[in-house]
């Protein structure tokens, strides 16, 4: 289970990052560092720029201003994986979906097969390995997306509201898997609008408000004593 860390794509450092589109501001002046081993939750109301920030951190989106670097390099590392709000699965079997990702990462043959088996077992989908990914339930699809990401042994795993469209039971299953992946040394960055979930998972919280990074603190401190009025209002509003 080793071999996760030390790929060199950390820390991820954002300096003055801004993203705009046709004059509208989505992110402004974000300074942020993602460090090894952390489990960071990005919180904020709808439209605060959570998903955009995640895409910038994963290198899917180039900021319109500011800089981002991964372990000092300006190129997106290959060993960073992402799981999206709605799992994007290929029209082939569950196992073949993972095999596809491994093949792109250059992992083939016996090593690939053993990782596929291991990843499917990890998320409790081993019995459905041969089933077409597109006919799985929503929760199973998201678990498969997690298995696919985990099979890559990512240095960093990004998750964009991975439980937003799942029922509570499926959400808890996803949380357990995320926790397990983090426990094996993968750095995790996740967005959510579910405060209860954030409290269960987070080590570190990044709070966004209207495209700005308003607060970054350890989870305990953030939930018990937010330093900013925006964060306090967000926590208050969510409690209602």
């Amino acid at each position: 289970m080793a071999d996760v860390a030390s790929a060199g794509g950390l820390p991820i450092v954002c300096a003055g990052v801004a993203v705009g589109h046709n004059g509208t501001r989505i992110l402004a002046d974000v300074d942020l560092a993602v460090t090894r081993g952390n489990l960071t939750l990005i919180l904020g109301p709808n439209g605060s720029g959570k998903s955009t920030l995640l895409r910038v951190l994963h290198g899917l989106l180039t900021p319109t201003a500011g800089t981002i670097s991964w372990g000092g390099a300006s190129v997106r590392p290959r060993r960073h994986a992402m799981v999206f709000q709605r799992a994007v699965l290929l029209r082939r079997s569950a196992a073949a979906n993972i095999r596809y990702a491994l093949d792109l990462a250059g992992v083939r043959g016996a090593e690939a097969e053993s990782r596929i088996d291991d990843a499917l077992a990890e998320v409790g989908l081993r019995a459905l390995a041969g089933r077409s990914a597109r006919v799985l339930s929503g929760g199973e699809q998201q678990r498969l997306a997690l298995a696919r990401a985990w099979a890559l042994r990512p240095e960093v795993l990004f998750l964009d509201e991975p439980t937003a469209s799942l029922d509570p039971k499926a959400s808890r299953a996803v949380e357990e898997i995320v926790r397990g992946i983090h426990a094996r040394g993968t750095t995790v960055v996740m967005t959510t609008h579910n405060l209860a979930q954030a409290k269960r998972l987070a080590y570190d919280v990044v709070f966004l408000h209207e495209g700005r990074l308003v607060e970054q603190s350890p989870a305990q401190g953030f939930f018990n004593a937010p330093r900013t009025s925006e964060a306090a209002a967000f926590l208050e509003g969510e409690r209602l």
């Binding site: 290959r78 290929l90 082939r92």
Partner: protein
């Protein structure tokens, strides 16, 4: 008014008796158009996918051109291929004018833009859904295009049917480059045109009914296969 009932009876008789000349004509129609569809797919599917996924200058213009070329008049395609393949033409040395090969070439040219334009649309729609995930997994443009072609295979099957339908139904191109030679290059549509001009309208219409029936059967088979696969594989 009697023409339609006469023709239906005649169409039934044609199918029932399986007259060898009639069977040859149907077989040649299918051979030419299916081969043209296969060739056009080899060019059109990758081309459409490349335009959908690729980022290069002139991409929009190429899309417009391709969409416009879906309306290529078959007679014009036939004429151009005729000029290329005729003895004095640049490809005259091959001596394929007035052979089924020439007809395949003409129909391939006719339907490649249709297959490319429609598959571009199908793949572009899928690319919108898959782009971030495939980029995240590290797929390059080429590998993403292949993945999308495979993943949209059920929709692309319909695209191929559209191309095949256009090929099997057209008369202008095969008439000019094939010459409608009895037993050599005579296909269903050219036979219909010939019998119409000869005044044998019931026979012409009967052939038309058979042609439509064949197209219907092929589409039904494709639809059935697609639905079966969709239920099974999602």
């Amino acid at each position: 008014m009697g023409t339609f009932s006469d023709s239906l009876t005649l169409a039934a008789a044609l199918v029932a008796h399986l007259d060898p000349r009639f069977v040859d004509i149907v077989a040649l129609s299918l051979r030419v158009s299916l081969t043209a569809t296969a060739l056009a797919a080899c060019v059109g599917l990758p081309l459409g996918a490349a335009i959908a996924v690729g980022r290069f200058p002139g991409r929009q213009a190429l899309t417009v051109l391709l969409n416009a070329m879906m309306g290529l008049p078959p007679v014009v395609v036939g004429l151009v291929v005729y000029l290329l393949l005729s003895r004095a033409g640049p490809l005259g040395a091959f001596g394929v004018l007035f052979t089924p090969a020439a007809m395949i070439v003409a129909q391939t040219i006719l339907i490649t833009p249709i297959i490319a334009a429609l598959s571009r649309q199908v793949v572009a729609d899928a690319w919108g859904e898959y782009r971030e995930q495939l980029t995240s997994l590290g797929a390059g443009t080429f590998s993403a295009a292949l993945t999308l072609i495979w993943d949209t295979r059920y929709s692309l099957a319909t695209v191929l049917l559209a191309g095949f339908g256009r090929a099997i139904a057209e008369v202008g191109a095969v008439m000019i480059v094939g010459g409608n030679i009895d037993g050599v290059t005579r296909v269903m549509t050219t036979t219909i045109a010939l019998e119409t001009s000869k005044g044998d309208l019931p026979l012409a219409l009967a052939l038309g009914i058979v042609l439509i029936a064949i197209v219907l059967i092929i589409n039904a088979l494709a639809q059935y296969t697609r639905e079966w696969a969709r239920v099974r594989y999602g």
